[in-house]
Subunit: 247 residues, 2 copies
DNA sequence: AAAAAACTGTCAAACAATTGACACACTATT
DNA sequence: AATAGTGTGTCAATTGTTTGACAGTTTTTT
């Protein structure tokens, strides 16, 4: 499979200024924050950067896993598509998130497609460099295991949600989670700084566009949010939370 | 929460004969098989046994994680129950399977209830002993990471199934998987050696008993299986597979 | 500024699955 | 061997959601 990507500084080591900037950014991630400083340095020494445009494929489901990634700027959609073309979104990733570790750790294939959904810069650790680092510091496996635990817990939560929650509850939960990941507070409320049409939300909750429309119109009348042509502003996040906490 | 359990040889080291027997059994697991011999020995040296009766709770969702387990005989249901009492089954585990590693690795809480669903003997590694072993052999983290990868991949598959497959397809897939885990071949076909009523299958596929009944009657007429009062015999596994491979 | 494309709001029809009900069949208990 | 308890087969009514359609609105492209 072919990847359309535009490399910014691929395969060149980062200068000290950039390293410091990136380190500060990544320390916003609660997993990364737990790493001892010598591992943080070791990681930054072997890392390179890659830039992607909106819609660029980072990797496809089934590709051989060659790198692990951290998002520096932008956002990434992690999803899979069935034989009939139905999409199932696992998660949207915001800056400071890591992904791609599964295929690298079990030296196997990608579990999902990963697509940049805005202009995105990734920190890249190649499998080869990672393996060298792991030989030098086997304790890093411990941290990777804890990263995997987070992914498993996310997957379990979603599995429960998909079988135990209604479309309304799932939609509410996803919106709240997007608000938490990409929310920008303004005078009206919390604006989700990514473009989401009703179709996108339908895919995200695995339902039909018309069903989503019904809920959004309903919730807009109640004054809980405003959703129009891709721009979503949440004005009563507490009301939305109530929809899935009760259920 | 209280655990009803009857210990067989809790907290006593295993004798050499038992170790050899257990080792042979566990080598049937493709993850365990990859472990170097010194780790296998180290594990068996710190392991103890616990026995559970049908219906005994091994741990509840939210319990503090104190041990990891391998199933020696019997079977275990891993599931969670929502506030309204709806059950969501993650998986049924057969002999030689390991479980309980997540809560121990991230030193946190159990992600699911685990219930013995027949007379079951577990190999138990306490968190304390495991941590000691991990300090001595940090490379064991590597193997635990690969165990976690398997769990994640299972969770991803189920997540896709639950959103992309119909009830029929999900039922067929679960039946095939049970046949693979617990199937005993006899003159009629593959008998699933666990008790599964229509109610159980409904919970397993997250649907209603009546819906399951419709499918089972339908498939029995086609000569694909026979399900009566908890005993399920699959007579045409290929036909069942076709139901979810196509979809 | 005009045209094309994409998105929204709202129908009605179709559908898959749930729910509640009940008679009947089988199993476990005594 | 009788009885209670559990599981099965099959209704009909209802629900939640999907599908297809289409007019109107907004955004993007030229």
């Amino acid at each position: 499979m072919q990847h359309t990507l535009q490399s910014l500084k691929s395969n060149t080591n980062l200068d000290e200024y950039l390293k410091t900037k990136i380190k500060t950014l990544l320390l916003g991630n609660s997993w990364f924050k737990e790493l001892p400083d010598y591992l943080v340095c070791a990681i930054l020494n072997i890392a390179t950067l890659k830039r992607f445009q909106d819609g660029d494929i980072i990797h496809y489901y089934g590709d051989e896993a060659k790198d692990i990634y951290a998002i520096l700027t932008g956002s990434v959609k992690v999803s899979s598509i069935s034989a009939e073309g139905n999409e199932c979104v696992f998660r949207y990733l915001a800056p400071a998130s890591w992904f791609g570790e599964i295929g690298v750790l079990d030296r196997s294939r990608r579990t999902h497609d990963a697509i940049a959904i805005s202009q995105t810069t990734l920190l890249v650790i190649s499998e080869k460099e990672l393996q060298t680092l792991l030989i030098q510091y086997p304790i890093f496996y411990k941290f990777l295991a804890s990263l995997l635990c987070r992914v498993v817990r996310t997957a379990f939560t979603m599995l429960n949600d998909s079988t135990l929650l209604s479309v309304s509850a799932r939609l509410a939960k996803r919106l709240v989670s997007l608000a938490e990941g990409y929310g920008v507070i303004n005078q009206e409320g919390i604006l989700i700084s990514l473009h989401f049409t009703q179709d996108d939300l339908a895919t995200l909750t695995h339902s039909a566009r018309q069903t989503i429309n019904k809920r959004l119109v309903e919730w807009e009348k109640l004054g809980w949010l405003k959703a129009r042509y891709g721009k979503i502003t949440i004005t009563n996040i507490q009301a939305l939370k109530q929809l899935y906490i009760d259920e």
